[in-house]
């Protein structure tokens, strides 16, 4: 039975998703509907990153690679059979006859991402600090290179098109809620507590008997599963994409959301995703306005990226624990029961 504070946190975070969905529905504007859908998909990716990074304290750049695995897996298995020859002329014969529903394809994408993570990551989990960061970056490069060159199943660097459209606002929001539940449950699980302990003091974690690489590995595999599911949902939203969608730009956005919100908490992941989405869309509208009104002679481009980068720097300098701080929303003063007077403390 989860404790009261975790339940309050869950309720507040799910409410935040529900409000976003309500805003999109009530506005009736198609653009807002799409923005909130993408926000929910990003939330799944950010929560997945939080599961590993927030609890273990280790920065991972590989996350978006697993998003790509999920996206390509479901794209491959849900592509209508009659289109296979056109999209993937060199597809292996065994794969040319299987067609799954999008829901199954997305689930399979999560599983494949998790299995790849499980197989590749164990040696990396012994590393900490800079070595861990640089090897996770190397892993992203490896996954990207495979996506670019494995033409038989990815269509190489060219666009993979024809993925059935299946992800709407409600599907994305529903899975985002599951991701919130999953991230909170993991944080409070036995593995989650020990992983957070190892983040605070790895030597002391060894001393109580914790097998730190195994704990990290479990977090990493769950994290990759969530990234794979997020990637699959995105594939069925966007319907055509190329390997570049799963590289540095997306990595920066997802990391930025988590760092700005605060990686140590699930609350931080939600706050960061919503805050960055609002800022992003606001800036994009502003940029469009500047360009259509011809305020400057040339066109303004890249405003969103520059502002996000500056926000990240500002947060890291001024408030390293992120907007949400180091406590879950359910554990903040707002929800704290008045402390009972005790006579025990000297």
């Amino acid at each position: 039975m989860p404790d009261r504070r975790t339940l309050i946190t869950l309720a507040v975070l799910v409410a935040a998703v529900a409000v976003s969905v309500a805003v999109a529905e009530l506005s009736g504007v198609r653009l807002i509907d799409r923005v909130v859908t993408v926000m929910c998909i990003n939330l799944i990716l950010v929560l997945g990153l939080q599961v590993f990074m927030g609890n273990s304290g280790i920065l991972s750049f590989a996350h978006i690679g697993f998003m790509g695995i999920g996206a390509y897996t479901t794209a491959l298995f849900t592509l209508p059979l009659q289109m296979r020859g056109m999209v993937l002329p060199n597809l292996y014969d065994v794969l040319a006859t299987v067609e799954l529903s999008p829901a199954l394809g997305i689930a399979l994408g999560g599983l494949v991402a998790a299995m790849v993570a499980a197989a590749l990551s164990f040696p990396l989990m012994r590393l900490s600090d800079a070595a861990a960061v640089i090897t996770s970056f190397a892993l992203l490069v490896v996954l990207h290179t495979i996506m670019v060159h494995w033409s038989e199943v990815t269509n190489g660097p060219r666009t993979f098109f024809g993925v059935p459209e299946a992800t709407g606002l409600y599907q994305a929001a529903g899975v985002a809620v599951l991701a919130i539940v999953g991230a909170l449950a993991f944080k409070e699980s036995r593995t989650g507590v020990l992983l957070r302990a190892s983040r605070d003091d790895e030597v002391a974690a060894h001393t109580i008997g914790a097998n730190v690489p195994v704990l990290r590995w479990r977090g990493f595999v769950l994290s990759a599963f969530m990234a794979g599911v997020g990637g699959g949902l995105w594939a069925h939203f966007i319907t055509s994409f190329s390997p570049n969608a799963f590289y540095l730009k997306e990595t920066f956005v997802i990391l930025g959301m988590l760092v700005i919100g605060g990686g140590a908490t699930v609350t931080g992941a939600v706050v960061g995703t919503i805050a960055v989405t609002i800022a992003y869309e606001g800036l994009r509208a502003f940029e469009n306005m500047l360009n259509t009104e011809q305020v400057f002679d040339g066109t303004v481009v890249g405003l969103t990226e520059v502002v996000l980068a500056c926000a990240m720097i500002g947060i890291l300098v001024l408030r390293p624990e992120g907007l949400a701080g180091s406590c879950e929303i359910g554990a903040t003063a707002l929800f704290r029961r008045r402390p009972q007077p005790t006579g025990e403390r000297p």
Binding site: E188, H206, T207, I208, G209, A264, S326
Partner: protein, 247 residues
């Protein structure tokens, strides 16, 4: 209850040429309290680090209840029932006090609710119950040390090695600590090794002493014998300490 022991035989440790431990042999039995004393830099912490796998021994063997553990990793040695505290406290600072204690119970296989119950019972025993929900990073020095001991006990160890547990405590806290530690071996059937500088505290607490100087054993045995050994008096205690204890 059967007795078991944690032993090191002819243990040597070197740090880039410096011999921090030189063929030290030591035995800790369940049910007893052994004091490990010696001047600063004599190798006491290094001995605890070697026994718990945190530094590699150059030579010698370590056994726990008859099983050789010389080459095991720290987390494996912990799972054999050897727990410790650190000279400079190491808590999980962003976890609550209760969660800190829970971690060791979880590693031993407890579910979260069971770990919580065990943790609360231990905090109650050590007079820390009021701090259960506090973040461990916000404690006073003395409380930090007691939480670290509570966490070690939550693993239900057979051997508990405490590196200067009374450091930074005032006299009243020191007395309370001695009372608490004295009861542990019988109540929990464990062997307790305590490093401390403070001779009166060690004399009250321990049945046996092991004395190190410059990485070598210069005396061991029951308290009365050891504190009269000339080498010990010369190296560490000083004549005044013997007189003070006699008085």
């Amino acid at each position: 209850m059967t007795t078991a022991s944690l032993t090191a035989a002819d243990l040597s440790v070197e740090f880039s040429g410096l011999r921090a431990l030189d063929r030290v042999s030591i035995t800790l039995n369940t049910g007893e309290i052994l004091g490990l004393i010696g001047p600063n830099g004599s190798g006491k912490t290094t001995l605890v680090n070697a026994l718990t796998g945190h530094v590699r021994a150059l030579e010698g063997t370590i056994t726990c209840a008859g099983e050789t553990i010389t080459h095991l990793k720290p987390f494996q040695i912990a799972r054999k029932g050897v727990a410790r505290s650190f000279q400079i406290v190491r808590l999980f600072r962003n976890l609550t006090v209760l969660e800190n204690v829970e971690t060791a119970a979880i590693v031993r296989g407890a579910s979260r609710p069971a770990a919580r119950r065990r943790g609360l019972a231990l905090l109650e025993d050590l007079g820390l119950a009021a701090l259960a929900e506090e973040p461990a990073g916000a404690l006073s020095y003395g409380d930090e040390r007691r939480v670290e001991i509570a966490r070690a006990l939550a693993a239900e160890p057979r051997f508990l090695l405490l590196d200067e547990p009374a450091a930074g405590m005032n006299e009243a806290e020191g007395h309370a600590l001695v009372a608490m530690l004295s009861a542990l071996p019988a109540a929990r059937n464990l062997g307790l090794l305590v490093i401390d500088h403070h001779m009166p505290l060690i004399m009250r607490l321990c049945q046996r002493l092991h004395v190190l100087a410059s990485g070598r054993t210069i005396g061991e045995g029951d308290v009365e014998t050891v504190r009269r050994l000339p080498a010990v008096i010369e190296a560490y205690l000083g004549v005044s300490a013997v007189e003070a204890a006699d008085a």
